[in-house]
């Protein structure tokens, strides 16, 4: 069946591309990165990186996609093959399919959380709960077998619903499915985001708990936007900015190539790429920066946010904060927040389905529906371990290898191909064809030299990240690898205890005191390990951490030494607990006895599964190559016969 889809309207294409780029990271990753990297000064390296790395990469990918589409190729293996005419490179293009399957596998799971949380917000599940209860709800939800609604295997059910929805939309095609969803989803996302951003900016200290002196949303905004110019000299800030630009634009995945391959040969791509790219920037900088951090600071204070800012805030903190707005507004805000995340997620996950579909339709003649449902089947197979073994680290393993490392490797390869193998002059001619804007000439040397060098730096910095991301110390000679570096990950440096797949004992992964042993609602025994820290409680009883000496003096009357829960383990009934409350324990002390399968087993299996997936796609590309060669031979034979 011919793969002759095309976009219905230009606005539909741009909204789909913008929806592809806009994801959960715009609302969660960006503000956290900004908080951790110099507040307002982070925006300067962020915008610089967007100009010299983001824009060239967008243009490269749009150009490669449209070029490939014109030749009948809608996925990266044969787009690279067409551009390089070298056999080797098409196997690099495998990344453009592999990444999407690997990421969609766990991304659909996050999407299913947003769907479930919309349901729970509407049903007011979080009403009246304490901050800890709302936070624990997430742990309960991700515990397979435990149900928060009465629906058995709730997290699996929501995952399957979400995946089925994605697959069905994909089966409706480009115009009938993806474009329609983008035209509805992106505007709704903007409306929901604008509502919450206005609320975040105007919240002020009107809802500050008694006794909390730094509970003011304006303090959060101030922290995000106050320029700390000295941070501009820090390499880690620049690397964080480059990383954020890279991930927020969804480059290095193969989705932009695929979407662009359905653009007609002489339609504009330069202006379209700018429009979609800046729309993503708008959502991130204007909306994303005005929601999570200001609202969280408005209730929990700046200290708390600085200490706890992270991805988990979306599901473990925000629902609690919305309940503080009262029944009706809280329900609406919860629905809007998780609805916004859902639309951000689904417009991205739909894009992830198209490279596989494009490949199977091009190379094996599959129909649209068959290609779509096969994608759903693969995601179910590859993604189910992330659902079943979420708490064992499978999700994070997928995110690291498929959602981080693969992207950088592929983007580096494509920038070299575009600038050096395909040729920058040829590439520029292709980009300029049908362009509705004048492309500045200075972008040519930037695309050829600066962008690949920037990507190489990003890759090398990920490969050999120094301990605690301390580049200053590393450049002074103290280059100990961080556990999060690629080499550190391969060496399992982050695993300090339970280093075997199976054992009879479970070791503690940190030192501290056993502060609680209790049976939780999921039926498992919860063992909390806490360590000594200084903190205080505000008037509402919320624990608050102190991170600056000046703050400590200011709040001296409420500061005291206490224990902070550092790690919570959960053990089955069959496992015997070897510690009791009040015990002091050291790293690798035995906590429990029984039959244990450690996280290392699950993460190694995740790595194995991803490797098999990559090899499977390589095999399909090999088969497709053989089919093409055979078709070419048949064509030559038939022409030869005619001539005879």
């Amino acid at each position: 069946m011919a793969n002759s889809d095309s976009w219905g309207t230009r606005v539909g294409l741009i909204l789909a591309m913008a929806g592809n780029a806009v994801g959960l990271g715009n609302f969660l990753r960006f503000p956290v990165q900004a908080v951790q990297n110099g507040g307002g000064a982070f925006i300067i390296p962020y915008l610089v990186c967007f100009l010299i790395m983001g824009i060239p990469l967008l243009w490269i990918e749009w150009t490669m996609g449209r070029y490939g589409g014109r030749k009948g190729n809608h996925s990266t293996p044969f787009i690279l093959d067409e551009m390089t005419r070298l056999k080797f490179w098409k196997y690099f293009g495998v990344f453009g399919i592999f990444t999407n399957i690997g990421v969609a596998a766990y991304y659909c799971y996050i999407e299913s959380w947003t769907l479930a949380y919309v349901y729970h917000s509407v049903m007011q599940t979080f009403a009246g709960g304490t901050q800890e209860e709302v936070s624990n709800f997430f742990v309960q939800y991700t515990t397979v077998g435990y149900s928060t609604t009465g629906i058995p295997f709730e997290s699996i059910i929501f995952y399957v619903i979400c995946l089925a929805l994605n697959t069905w939309i994909l089966s409706q095609g480009l115009q009938g499915g993806i474009e329609k969803v983008a035209k509805v989803g992106v505007p709704l996302l903007l409306i929901f985001g604008a509502f919450l951003a206005v609320k975040g900016i105007t919240l002020g200290d009107s809802n500050a708990p008694d006794g909390c002196t730094d509970c003011n949303s304006l303090l959060g905004l101030n922290f995000l936007w106050e320029p700390q110019l000295d941070s501009l000299l820090s390499p880690s800030v620049w690397l964080a900015a480059a990383g954020q630009i890279f991930f927020t634009l969804s480059v290095g995945m193969g989705t932009i190539h695929c979407y662009s391959s359905y653009v007609r040969a002489n339609d504009d791509i330069a202006l379209n790429a700018m429009s979609a790219g800046w729309m993503n920037g708008f959502v991130e900088i204007v909306l994303g920066a005005s929601i999570v951090i200001p609202i969280a600071v408005g209730y929990l204070g700046l200290d708390w946010v600085v200490e706890n800012a992270g991805f988990s805030m979306a599901f473990q903190t925000m629902p609690y904060l919305f309940t503080q707005w009262g029944t009706y507004l809280g329900t609406i805000a919860g629905g809007f927040w998780f609805g916004l995340l859902f639309f951000a997620g689904i417009t991205s996950s739909l894009a992830m389905g198209t490279p596989w579909m494009g490949f199977m339709r091009d190379e094996f003649g599959w129909g649209q529906k068959k290609a779509a449902w096969s994608f759903g089947g693969i995601i179910l197979l590859v993604g189910m371990p992330t659902v079943l073994f979420f708490q064992q680290g499978v999700f994070d393993e997928y995110d690291y290898w498929a959602g981080t490392v693969s992207l950088v490797v592929f983007a580096l390869a494509e920038s070299i191909i575009f600038g050096w193998r395909f040729g920058i002059d040829r590439g520029w001619k292709e980009l300029s064809r049908g362009s509705d804007i004048k492309i500045p000439n200075f972008y040519k040397p930037i695309t050829k030299y600066v962008t690949p060098i920037m990507l190489l730096i990003v890759f090398l910095s990920a490969l050999i990240t120094p301990k605690d991301n301390n580049w200053e110390a590393a450049f002074k000679g103290n280059w100990e690898l961080d556990a999060s570096s690629i080499i550190g990950k391969i060496q399992n440096k982050g695993i300090v205890a339970n280093k075997t797949w199976f054992s009879e004992y479970f070791e503690s992964e940190l030192s501290g005191e056993v502060t609680e042993i209790a049976v939780g609602v999921t039926g498992k025994t919860r063992v909390q390990i806490s360590s000594q820290a200084q903190f205080y409680k505000d008037g509402a009883g919320n624990p608050r951490k102190i991170y600056s000496e000046s703050k400590k003096e200011e709040l001296a009357d409420v500061i005291y030494d206490s224990l902070v829960v550092s790690k919570t383990y959960r053990f089955d009934k069959k496992q015997e607990i070897l510690v009791k409350e009040g015990d002091q324990i050291e790293l690798r002390d035995h906590l429990a006895k029984g039959s244990f399968i450690h996280n290392m087993f699950y993460t190694d299996m995740a790595k194995l599964l991803l490797t098999l997936l990559f090899l499977f796609i390589c095999y399909l590309v090999f088969k497709a190559t053989k089919r093409r060669e055979r078709a070419l031979r048949d064509q030559l034979d038939s022409e030869g016969t005619k001539n005879d």
Partner: protein, 45 residues
């Protein structure tokens, strides 16, 4: 909020909103091309 933070926030948000709006306006106001199919065959690679 301090003055510098306020200036930073407002200026960056206005610039980003302005550029986004400009490009989107340009997209909406550029007439669609009608010569795609004719030119396809002429493209020299």
């Amino acid at each position: 909020m301090t003055t510098s933070a306020l200036i930073m926030m407002i200026s960056v948000q206005l610039i980003v909103t302005g550029i986004t709006g400009y490009f989107f306006f340009k997209v909406l106001n550029t007439p669609p091309k009608t010569d795609n199919n004719d030119l396809d065959e002429l493209i020299d690679d």
